[in-house]
Structure formats: structure tokens, C-alpha cells
Amino acid sequence: MTLAENLFENLRLELRRGCLTLAVLVELRQEHYGYTLRKDLAECGLAIDESTLYPLLRRLESQGLLVSEWREEEKRNKRFYHLSSDGEQMLGQLLEEWNSINASINTIINRTL
């Protein structure tokens, strides 16, 4: 891997990191367990590795943005996650921020072109 490729990979990961968190929070307005959440995100064009998504869910739960419960579905115990009330509030703020950044970036791109 060259320095430029390494740099791009690092920047891409940084760029995606926040977006993935936002996408997960939006998606978890409806209850999901890890695997179906990953499938839904991939169907929307946002593929995410299992080894990234599952620890992310844990981290968001430990931050109080998600709540989870173990429940049996199709004869298998699964851990279902959904947004907590704190998470809903945070999601509202983050979406506002996202829209603001998006609009600003578009403005900057259009102005410099």
C-alpha cells in the first residue's frame, strides 16, 4: 500500500465513521438485531463489515443511545436493539448537523467549480 493509498483509506474510514453511526441510529428507530440491520443498510447501499457494526452497536448502547434486549425469534436467542429516548434526541441533533454540513459542502463545491 502506498502512502497515497494509505492516506485515502484513512480519510475514507474517517469520513464513513460518523456517517455509519448516523445511518445506524436512523435505522434503529425500528427494532433490529445485528444481522438484519446490516442487511437493511447494505440494501440501502451502505455496506458495513460485521466486525465494525457489531462493536459499534455495543459502543452506542454503552453511551446510552441504544437499548437492547435478548429475545427468542425463530427458535434462536437474538439481541434486539432500538433507539433510546436519549438516542432519539441525539439523532435529531445529528440530523440537523448532517443537513447543515451537507448543504455547506454543496455550497462550497458549487462555488469553487
Partner: protein
């Protein structure tokens, strides 16, 4: 599916112990759902090759587990598991090398409490120095591999392609018992095992370490210990050395979390040998008179009483250990019998 179980077992080994069961249960549920979907899509179970490809895509167990660890900045999350592994092995090797060298130096040159205390007091300094160098080396690797990736490829790439087939086989849970131990606990057992061994080796030269002020009685009294106690002593030394080596090997193999039932039974069984050696002494001659011709008439009865008491004590110890062994061998066999009967 054995390969999936082996994969999860390998991931579990690198997870923080207090959360590992919960994380593995969740990972298993997600992976089994994914597997079901794949098999439903194909209309058949996955072949071994396809399963290996799928697991390879999931990532090496150590790397998957690393994502559940807190982020490190001095040493990045990609390098951290390797750093931790190298640190443990290096510190263990350092303490073993130091222990062996110190034991030889103490026994050969200046056996004494002061030498032991000085050797033990030097241990933290040595461990901190070793840990410092290892940490510094890894911090340098992290620093250079982040800035010059073309010259310093990640360590994970140097280890070659990872294959799910190289995962260790499933551990036989029937051979383990007790609560899982932490790494610190396992290392402490090795360190204290080493201190015990040094103490044991010093006792013949300094009986004070075992008897306290009563050691003076050994010189003043008309009695002396029979040669059988030397045989007993060296058996005890050998038993402790064996246990220490066994624990070190377990640490190096990464098998410190659970105590092995086989190992426990083997140590108890070997422990019966010195007891047997003492019990087989002719006419219970454990303690002798220094001058039988002079003191025989005066201390003869006391001597007989002492020897009888020692013999009785060792008989009791032997019976207790035998009963314990029989219980520990018989209990799993009885449980196995009950389980087999229940499934019939």
C-alpha cells in the same frame, strides 16, 4: 458447525473476560442467521471451503475481537492485540530466565534470606524495563507504519495469510473446572510458585525459615531427623518444580483461563509418592537419637511416641488425599453415567 465454533472460540480468547460470553452469544446469533441465509440462497449447506472463505471474510479472530476493545492511540487498535501478546510472552520469558538465573546464583554463591529478598525486590524493576522496551518498540512500529506504509507494512501482513483451518481444535470442556482465571492471577501463581521453590531450597540450610525460633531446638535436642526426610524433601522440590513448569507451559500455550482436571489429578497423584516414601519407612524410624547409647534409656519412650504420631499423621494425610482423588475421578464418571442414562 465445528468450524464456526472453533472460530468463535478463537475470537473469545481475545475478548475482555467479563464481556466475552455476551459478545460471543450475540456474534453467534448473527453469524448463524447469516449462514442460514447463505444456505437458503444456495439450497444446500456450505462446503468446508465456502465456510472457510466466509470466515476469512469475517476477519482473523484476533482482529475481530480487537474491535470490541477500547481505542489506543500510542499503539493503534490494529497493532494492540499483537503488542499485548508479545508483551505477555516477553515478560513471562524474562521472569522465567531471571528466576532460573537467580535461583542458581543464590544456591551456588550466597544462600540466605538477604539474597532472596534482594532477588525478589529486583523483579518489578526488571519487568518494568522489559515492558518499557516492548512498548517503545511497538509505539515505534505504529509511528513508522502509519507514516511510511510502503516501507513498514502492518505486522498483520507479515504473519502471512490467515486460514480458518489453522484454528486450534475445540477445547474439551470436560477436562476443565473452576471459575475462569485472569492472566494476572495465572502470572501471580507462577511468581509465588517460584518464591515457594526458592524458599523450599533454602530450608535445609536455614531451618529457621520453616521452624522459626524452634530451629534452635534441632541443635540442642537429643533427636535428629532420619535420612528418609531428605528423600521426602527432594520429592517435594520435584513436585513443586513440576507444577511450576506446568504453569509456565500453560501460560505460553495461552491455556491459563481454566484449570485442567487432568493436571490437577496428576499433581495430586504424584503428591502421594512422597507420602508413600515416608509411610514405607521400616519401624517408623522418622526421628532418631543422636546418641542412642547415652540417651536410649531416658528418651526411648518419647522417641517411640513421636515416631508413632508422625506415622499416624501421614496415614491420615494419605487417606484424605486418596479419598479426594477417588471423589474427583469418580464424580465426572458418575455424572457421565447419569447423562448417558438420561439420553437412553
Amino acid at each position: 458447525m465445528e468450524l464456526l465454533d472453533r472460530y468463535l472460540q478463537a475470537v473469545k480468547k481475545h475478548l475482555p473476560s467479563r464481556r466475552q460470553d455476551d459478545i460471543i452469544a450475540e456474534l453467534r446469533a448473527n453469524m448463524e442467521s447469516q449462514l442460514e441465509d447463505k444456505e437458503a440462497e444456495l439450497g444446500r449447506p456450505l462446503t468446508t471451503g465456502e465456510t472457510e472463505d466466509w470466515l476469512r471474510q469475517m476477519g482473523a479472530p484476533m482482529m475481530v475481537a480487537a474491535r470490541y476493545q477500547p481505542q489506543q492511540y500510542l499503539i493503534g487498535p490494529g497493532l494492540y492485540p499483537i503488542y499485548l501478546y508479545v508483551l505477555r510472552v516477553t515478560m513471562l520469558l524474562a521472569i522465567m530466565a531471571y528466576a532460573i538465573v537467580s535461583a542458581i546464583v543464590i544456591v551456588v554463591t550466597a544462600p540466605g534470606e538477604a539474597s532472596v529478598v534482594a532477588a525478589v525486590a529486583r523483579t518489578p524493576g526488571i519487568l518494568i524495563t522489559v515492558a518499557g522496551w516492548v512498548t517503545l518498540a511497538f509505539a515505534a512500529i505504529e509511528f513508522f507504519s502509519a507514516r511510511f506504509p510502503e516501507k513498514f507494512p502492518p505486522l498483520t501482513e507479515l504473519s502471512g495469510p490467515w486460514s480458518p483451518s489453522s484454528l486450534p481444535p475445540l477445547e474439551n470442556d470436560g477436562d476443565t473446572f473452576g471459575k475462569p482465571r485472569s492472566y494476572a492471577h495465572a502470572v501471580a501463581e507462577v511468581v509465588f510458585g517460584f518464591i515457594l521453590l526458592v524458599w523450599l531450597l533454602l530450608v535445609p540450610h536455614h531451618p529457621f525459615l520453616l521452624l522459626g525460633p524452634g530451629a534452635a531446638y534441632l541443635t540442642a535436642s537429643p533427636f535428629e531427623l532420619a535420612p528418609v526426610w531428605w528423600t521426602f524433601f527432594w520429592w517435594c522440590v520435584a513436585l513443586n518444580a513440576l507444577q511450576l513448569v506446568w504453569r509456565c507451559i500453560n501460560l505460553l500455550r495461552g491455556a491459563w483461563q481454566h484449570r485442567s482436571r487432568t493436571e490437577d489429578l496428576a499433581i495430586k497423584a504424584i503428591g502421594l509418592i512422597p507420602v508413600g516414601v515416608v509411610l514405607l519407612v521400616k519401624d517408623s524410624g522418622y526421628v532418631l537419637l543422636k546418641n542412642p547409647a547415652i540417651d536410649g534409656a531416658r528418651y526411648g519412650a518419647t522417641l517411640e511416641s513421636i515416631n508413632k504420631s508422625i506415622h499416624l499423621g501421614f496415614v491420615v494425610v494419605c487417606v484424605v488425599v486418596l479419598l479426594q482423588l477417588a471423589w474427583e475421578i469418580g464424580r465426572p464418571m458418575y455424572r457421565g453415567y447419569l447423562e448417558r442414562a438420561a439420553t437412553r
